[in-house]
């Protein structure tokens, strides 16, 4: 809401400078976002002196003036050849600036002559109504200065953010009332001569057919008006708030809207068939060409102003192209109405239209202001449109507004605020808000009709606190029973995982919950895979953010891509966030953990130069470490069924019978399609399942004590087929239940020459220890020979 201080001053005796007014409004809840001067915003309009004038053969109507702004010289073409003379100081609008009537100044070339700007008339400069002379200055003025500085024209305008509950503040008059409420500065209400109410009998008919959508409708007919340009003062005010003038009739309706907050509409009376104005719901499928040039198909919910034959206007929102005022209009029918805010809002939404008018109707106009606006418009029509005949005011008001009294118990004020602002103060403040009666310990207030936001006692308490000053209310700390419970298991788990992973060198990332569906189609998932059926946004920002993610993988790949395009190839990242799946209501939301390793990592100090590419053993190691620190035993089962992973380099993760996730290296072909360089290792875990598993798995810890007797070890190095996995060997050794065997350690794995292809060499170290005594060499030898023999026989291995 743009409020010129000079306009505001007409209605309230402002006793502060604009910055102070801004501060007062801001602290009362109406944030002033900016104080600007529309004249300054016009751009560079400066004083220049004419040095020389050239007349040319080929330019009949214009002369070329060489001018200086004190620093540089320019050439400017002007048609005002009678007025210019060397030495004259005039106003030059430089290229890039705007004139008062919205003309953009650019460098122009006419028949090879360049004009670097334009000389302005007082009207074009927005200084006075004079159009037919150049704005000229006395010889003493400084050159190159803003003409507004020289003329001492400054028009501070406040740009105020009005909250949606305060429709009453969407006008100059409304802001004036509010300032009066806050500061007690004297109010100067608009007054009109009584005879403005009088008029000739109205020759038409007005009917409200839908009184739930239209509460009040006032019409007045002005016959024999003159449609022309608005007077300078009206144009100037429209300019101050950034509105373009159209003609006197339309400008006056806009002017009254800005001043009093009441939207008005002017019809060309000749276009209203049968002189019959009907306020009704649209017929289904009825069409209407609006002023924005678009045909709209209406629904039965939309309210229209119609004549006998058809809809003319989308009520309270936008006028129709056909029934609007034009240069040829002779008689004007003026509408001032009060529409149901809900109806206006829903229709506006349906047709995606917001106008100055609908914006105000949605937020509630003053039921009593409807009449006042007609008087104000009449006043202006009489002065600036010279009507030959004015009709009576026809006020169709089926159910006049009866405000509900609000009952506020005295005690409630200090109970809600937590501080006693004093009964006298409460009473004095409430009195300003409307009609106040005190009944025992309760105040009864009938608020002013424009304060449609005041409905319940809490609204009054807010007014009391606000007008007392939020900052004047002392702060304290609440007192009450402690109720908090132990943190939820999922929070603890998530936090813990984040701690562990950052400790292991991972960076946490956060990516959007919406992804590009193309990512999913590139993962070559099976058609029945539910990750292929994401929830779709009906109004996405772009197609690349159009579905809710069903996996964290696309987001992580995006991060890889973004980094890779910006010099970072090595990544060790994780994300914890939700993935979403359709279900009957809302969505199934599952917390997931994604891990990604890409590129190289450092072993040792940077200067040792030991960089190694991440491989599956790294990823597996991190997962093992994570679960070890979570104290949750997880089983790793080769191979994963995820189609986007290289099968031989993938595994699934299980807790008991439940598959909780997968890990592996992404297929090269898929990375290529996504324009990514690999290898990229990825893992994704369902944290809900991890959390469940954690709650079910009992902690079974075998306590180890310092040994009493020394251990001894024996090594076996053997050659075995590559097909035999380490897990199989390990499981077999465990199954042998070898006495005194404390642990087995794989300390070397070798493939290649001289080991034959298809085979590998493993070195195992077996640690033996007696609990009660030191074992003898002989018995250890004996045991170990047996172990070796069993191993060789079982797997067809041979010693190396």
């Amino acid at each position: 809401m743009k409020v010129p201080i000079s306009w505001l001053r007409e209605f309230v005796d402002i006793k502060a400078d604009p910055a102070e007014v801004a501060q007062i409004l801001t602290l009362a809840g109406h944030e002033v976002e900016e104080i600007f001067d529309p004249y300054q915003n016009l751009g560079e309009i400066v004083t220049v002196k004419i040095l020389e004038i050239f007349k040319t053969e080929d330019l009949q109507e214009v002369v070329v003036c060489k001018v200086t702004d004190g620093k540089n010289t320019f050439e400017v073409l002007t048609t005002a050849k009678e007025q210019v003379r060397p030495g004259l100081i005039v106003a030059l609008a430089k290229p890039g600036s705007l004139t008062f009537d919205h003309e953009k100044i650019e460098v122009k070339t006419v028949k090879g002559y360049r004009s670097e700007g334009m000389f302005l008339s007082p009207f074009e400069a927005g200084v006075s109504p004079e159009k037919d002379r150049l704005l000229a200055f006395s010889d003493e003025v400084e050159l190159g200065l803003s003409i507004y500085k020289i003329l001492n024209i400054s028009e501070p305008v406040l740009d105020i953010a009005i909250t949606p509950n305060r429709g009453d503040l969407l006008s100059i008059w409304g802001i004036a009332r509010e300032l009066n409420l806050i500061t007690d500065w004297e109010l100067r209400p608009p007054v009109f001569p009584e005879d403005l109410k009088e008029g000739e009998p109205f020759s038409g008919k007005i009917e409200i057919w839908d009184s739930t959508s239209c509460f009040r409708y006032i019409g007045r007919l002005f016959k024999g008006i003159t449609v022309k340009e608005s007077p300078f003062e009206i144009r100037r005010r429209l300019f101050l708030v950034g509105q373009r003038p159209i003609n006197n009739i339309v400008d006056i309706t806009n002017y009254v809207l800005l001043e009093l907050g009441q939207p008005l509409h002017a019809f060309d009376w000749a276009k209203i068939a049968g002189s019959h104005v009907i306020i009704r719901k649209a017929k289904r499928g009825e069409t209407l060409l609006l002023l924005d040039g678009n045909w709209r198909t209406l629904s039965e919910e939309d309210l229209v102003i119609a004549d006998k034959e058809k809809a003319l206007v989308l009520a309270g929102i936008m006028g129709g192209e056909e029934s609007g005022v034009t240069e040829n209009t002779w008689d004007v029918f003026l509408e001032s109405a009060w529409f149901n805010p809900k109806s206006i809002r829903l229709t506006g939404q349906r047709h995606r239209i917001t106008t100055e008018s609908s914006y105000r109707f949605e937020r509630g106009v003053d039921p009593n202001g409807v009449f006042l606006a007609v008087l104000r418009a009449t006043d202006l029509f009489v002065r600036f449109a010279e009507p030959k005949e004015i009709s009576q005011i026809v006020d169709v008001y089926p159910q006049p507004y009866v405000p509900n009294p609000i009952e506020l118990p005295v005690k409630k004020v200090s109970k809600v605020i937590g501080f006693d602002i004093g009964e006298e103060r409460v009473e004095a403040t409430l009195k300003k808000l409307g009609n106040l009666v005190r009944e025992g310990d309760t105040f009864k207030l009938i608020p002013h009709s424009f304060r449609q936001d005041l409905r319940i006692p809490e609204d009054l308490i807010e007014e009391l606190a606000r007008l007392y000053g939020y900052d004047q209310i002392p702060s304290k700390m609440p007192f009450g029973e402690l109720t908090s419970r132990a943190p939820q298991r999922e929070f603890v788990l998530k936090d813990k995982i984040k701690e562990i992973l950052t400790g292991l060198g991972f960076y946490e990332v956060i990516t959007y919950s919406f992804i590009n569906p193309e990512y999913l189609s590139k993962l070559s998932l099976a058609p029945e895979d539910r990750r292929l059926i994401p929830l779709k946004l009906s109004n996405p920002i772009s197609s690349s953010l159009s579905v809710l993610r069903t996996s964290l993988v696309p987001g992580l790949l995006e991060v890889a891509k973004f980094n890779s395009h910006r010099e970072v190839e090595d990544l060790k990242i994780f994300e914890i966030g939700k993935v979403f799946f359709p279900q009957s209501e809302l969505a199934e939301e599952r917390e997931a953990l994604g891990l990604m390793l890409k590129g190289h990592h450092l072993e040792g100090a940077p200067w040792e130069g030991k960089r190694r590419q991440f491989d599956l053993y790294d990823l597996k190691g991190f997962i093992e470490a994570l679960f070890s620190l979570l104290r949750l035993s997880v089983e790793i089962k080769p191979f994963s069924r995820e189609p986007f992973l290289k099968k031989g380099l993938s595994f699934d993760l299980y807790v008991g019978e439940t598959r909780i996730g997968y890990a592996g290296e992404i297929k090269r072909l898929i990375l290529e399609e996504l324009d990514l360089k690999g290898p990229i290792l990825i893992a994704e875990l369902d944290l809900e399942l991890v959390s469940q598993a954690k709650s079910q798995q009992l902690e079974d810890i075998a306590i180890k004590k310092p040994p009493k007797f020394p251990s001894t070890f024996r090594d076996i190095t053997f050659i075995i087929s590559k097909v035999v996995t380490y897990a199989e060997i390990k499981a077999y050794i465990d199954s042998l239940e070898i006495p005194f065997l404390e642990r087995v350690e794989l300390f070397a794995l070798y493939e290649g020459e001289p080991i034959p292809p298809g085979e590998k060499s493993l070195s195992l170290r077996f640690w033996y220890r007696g609990e009660e005594r030191t074992l003898t060499d002989e018995e250890v030898e004996e045991l170990h020979r047996r172990v070796a023999k069993e191993l060789f026989e079982k797997f067809g291995a041979r010693p190396r």
Binding site: P164, M477, G505, W607
Partner: protein
Amino acid sequence: MAVASIKEIKQKALEELKAISDLSQLSEYRVKYLGKKGVITLALKALKDLPPEERRILGAELNELKDFLEERLDSLKRELLLAEEDRLTDFDITLPGRRPEIGTLHPLTKTIREICDIFLRLGFEIVSGPEVESDYYNFTALNIPEWHPARDMQATFYLENGALLRTHTSPIQIRTMLQRTPPIRIIAPGKVYRCDADVRHSPMFHQIEGLMVDSDVSFADLKGILTYFAKETFGERTKVRFRPSYFPFTEPSLEMDISCVICDGEGCRVCSNTGWIEILGAGMVHPEVFRAVNYDTEKWQGFAFGLGVERITMLKYGIDDIRLFYDNHLYFLDSFKTL
């Protein structure tokens, strides 16, 4: 051998002892005087040719010297050995160490944790709610019916199934109140979604919702809690300012400003020269909201607040582009390691 020559030996030995400055000199010295063919060893051997009386006196004197030297040499050796270990090596202590890789939390996670910790200390409990919400929880139950102009304040993403992405964390208020009976003190961090994107807006961002309901929690208490929060987050010197505002689900409503962290209240671009920066919205729970969860408005009073995590993080670290949080460039994330 004469007394005089023993004196000479002693004098020379003591003199040379003083000159020893390293271990090799020390071992040369030991050989020279105390070795098998050392001066003192030989002198002692030579004693046997002397008359008994003289042998006794000179012998005692030589042995005393020998003992003295041995003791001195032992302690000198220890000193030299210790000193030698203090000699500088070719280790360049200034080279980076073999540091295990260390990661970092996302800055938004850091902020959420810090803020939650503050409220945990005040007896609040962390709760959560769904990100895909219904119109009812996100709007209607919060006193924002379908036709309400306040819906303009929150451009909403809708799903094709009719649900929506929550535009604020406030639906968690409703869900929590429906599940519990007062007193309630909760804090709820989470992702929220709004349909706009530029330098200052991200289609997804994070909020933290707070709610306290008790028999007489007041507006003054709300001010107290929020002031405590602001000072804990931005420092004890931070000034706060409360402005009336409007949210359909609170009445009275307020917005809290803090003194600009960039210019210290002097006025700068970040604070549009006002010296103040808005950081959160809050208010007393609206009776319509209590009605939606069947709470007795005569019995219970409460306050709620909601704050933007990105905004607070941007202010704390002087970040000027919200998109940096979701680009996840490693350099950006890395900057939060030392903080």
